[in-house]
């Protein structure tokens, strides 16, 4: 069965893209293909000039670490860790910075998402909106080329939805990163630079 068929998608730095469409149309599948979480049976995925669709698991994992930041509908924080430690997790894996520099950067990102005063609080003790903002900070931790967000505000109230969306888009634009957003929310899609509707595994426009 083909989930995606004839899909061609290119994203530029500093722009925010929305992929919209009914449930089951292949939006998330496309996002996971772009984020190298899934491997396509056919077709190609290029990131920063590197062909990733035929790369082995090690190269794809390394590329995810360096080039991709994910924000999911559920925050997926490690609840045993503090907010600060959660944001530092991708940095510790990449090991590009020294531990003090990692901490400094993580504290800076948490301050940007409005959680500077809750950096050392356990993730389990944060509200849903705060947890999702920590997830945004975590996605930005390694300064990825692309931030891929799958319904990032799906579990949040209107106020927090707006806050998380504004954070994602403004930070990405500031840092020259691409944001690819899967959403059901037409208002949110309307605020993106480019909207790509999907139906039955194909872009319809």
């Amino acid at each position: 069965m083909h989930v995606l068929r004839g899909v061609s998608f290119a994203a530029e730095r500093g722009r925010v893209y929305a992929i919209v469409g009914p449930s089951g149309c292949g939006k998330s599948t496309l996002l996971y293909q772009l984020g190298l979480l899934d491997q396509p049976d056919d077709g190609q995925v290029w990131i920063n000039g590197g062909l990733m669709s035929v790369a082995d698991d090690g190269r794809r994992t390394a590329a995810r670490c360096r080039h991709v930041g994910f924000v999911f509908q559920f925050h997926f924080l490690l609840l045993e860790f503090t907010a600060l430690e959660n944001v530092m997790l991708p940095m510790r894996k990449l090991a590009r910075l020294t531990p003090p520099a990692m901490e400094e950067r993580a504290l800076g990102l948490l301050a940007v998402v409005g959680l500077g005063d809750k950096a050392r609080r356990a993730a389990a003790h944060l509200s849903g909106g705060e947890q999702q903002r920590v997830a945004v900070a975590r996605a930005l931790a390694n300064e990825p080329t692309a931030i891929l967000a799958d319904e990032p505000t799906g579990n949040l109230d209107a106020r927090n939805s707006g806050l998380v969306f504004d954070l994602l888009t403004s930070l990405a634009r500031q840092n020259g990163q691409t944001v690819v957003l899967v959403t059901h929310n037409p208002e949110m899609a309307a605020r993106c630079d480019d909207v790509r509707p999907m139906r039955d595994g194909q872009f319809v426009r």
Binding site: Y32, L37, D57, T61, E80, L89, K93
Partner: protein
């Protein structure tokens, strides 16, 4: 701290109760393994020390003669034993034995069954004629003296050393006299000292006399029934026995061969106790496997997010293997400490054993091998207990989990 270890530590402490149960199992398993090995080895070593200190490492007996009959019941193919059972030219044979590098002492022994008569009771016994200094060099006789004085025995031509059980049976004490009846003669001897080897069969029948006196009493001038040999390294006794036998043409028996049955009993006992106690570690390992397998199921989303942010399959496996390693390290450390403490406590327990050896408290051996073996068993069990969940965790596909379709 490596990131994988840091994550493992947090996952571990998040499931304190079940991990503590697994840890307790490892601690008790390792501890009990050590203490049971210390006991069984302790009694075995004590038995060996008693045997070596009483009957020596090697025994040189019959002269071997070449024969043309290959079916003759003999010590080696193509040979047969001399008929009289005594050693020919014992002094020469002893001198030849002394030439071997590993030999630390040689004692000629003339033995025979006699009738021993005290003031009120009589008993069959066996006379052992020995040169005191030679015999002290191949036995622990000096340390086995319960009452009396070896120096007095040395000065007294008709002095005798009696086993404790024999002395008790005949109601004889040091300074008392008794007679020995054999081969139509009756001679009177004086009890200079009473010894106890701890081996009841010896203590109830053996009477030491001076070798010259025994030869005179038994009317066997210059004779020796066998030669008892002590070695610097008793563990090499089988090899030395083979070499000696080839060189001096006499049957030479090592202590391992003489005591084969008892040594086998101890070996089986040690092995069976190790297997029994290992089941504790095994059960702890099963508990740990359960805990980690549950943890993998509970943490699939966390595994997926770690994978999505660049943690490799190896990293994920390491996180779970680290948890096993941490439980193992703590279990092995506390288990070894518990084992050492329990071994010390057991060594203080009173127990009265007489028969194959004599002791009034539990005998233990302090050996690093026991600790090494216990830790190795725990390591193997924990490795298996954590490897399977780790492998399962590493195989999880992050895309499937995030979509909520993980199996």
């Amino acid at each position: 701290m490596p990131p994988n270890l840091r994550i493992a530590l947090r996952f571990l402490t998040a499931r304190k109760r079940s991990m503590l149960m697994s840890l307790a199992g490892i601690v008790f398993g390792v501890g009990f393994f050590i203490v049971t090995q210390a006991q069984t080895s302790g009694f075995e070593d004590f038995f060996i020390r008693t045997i070596l200190g009483t009957n020596g490492a090697l025994r040189v007996e019959y002269h071997i003669q070449a024969t043309a009959d290959p079916d003759a019941p003999a010590a080696a193919p193509g040979t047969k034993e001399s008929s009289d059972g005594d050693i020919e030219n014992p002094e020469l044979v002893a001198a030849a034995v002394r030439q071997f590098r590993n030999v630390s002492g040689v004692s000629l022994i003339l033995q025979a069954g006699v009738n021993l008569v005290g003031s009120a009771y009589a008993s069959p016994a066996r006379v052992y004629g020995v040169n005191l200094d030679d015999h002290l060099a191949v036995t622990d006789l000096a340390r086995q003296i319960l009452r009396g004085d070896l120096e007095e025995y040395r000065r007294t031509p008709n002095g005798a050393l009696l086993g404790s059980a024999l002395a008790t049976w005949l109601h004889l004490g040091t300074g008392d006299t008794f007679t020995i009846e054999t081969r139509g003669q009756t001679r009177r001897y004086r009890v200079c000292a009473i010894y106890e080897t701890g081996i009841h069969d010896i203590d109830k029948e053996r009477v030491y006399l001076h070798l010259a006196e025994a030869r005179s009493l038994l009317q066997q001038p210059g004779a020796a029934s066998y030669i008892q040999v002590a070695l610097f390294d008793p563990a090499r006794a089988p090899e030395d026995a083979r070499q000696l036998q080839a060189v001096i043409s006499h049957t030479v028996t090592s202590w391992q061969q003489r005591e084969k049955s008892w040594l086998e009993v101890f070996r089986v006992l040690r092995l069976s106790s190790a297997i029994t106690v290992s089941t504790i570690i095994l059960v702890a390992g099963l508990g740990m496997f359960n805990t980690l397998a549950l943890l993998v199921m509970e943490k699939t989303k966390e595994i997926a997010i770690l994978r999505s942010m660049g943690y490799t399959r190896n990293d994920i496996a390491q996180i779970f293997l680290w948890q096993g390693a941490l439980v193992f390290a703590a279990g092995a450390t506390f288990g070894a400490l518990f084992g050492a403490g329990a071994t010390w406590a057991v060594s203080r327990l009173p127990i009265h054993i007489r028969g194959i050896f004599s002791t009034d408290s539990f005998v233990v051996t302090w050996s690093p091998w026991h600790y090494g073996a216990a830790v190795t068993v725990a390591a193997v069990v924990v490795l298996f207990a954590s490897y399977l969940p780790a492998r399962r965790a590493a195989r999880l596909e992050p895309g499937d989990i995030v979509r909520g379709t993980a199996q």
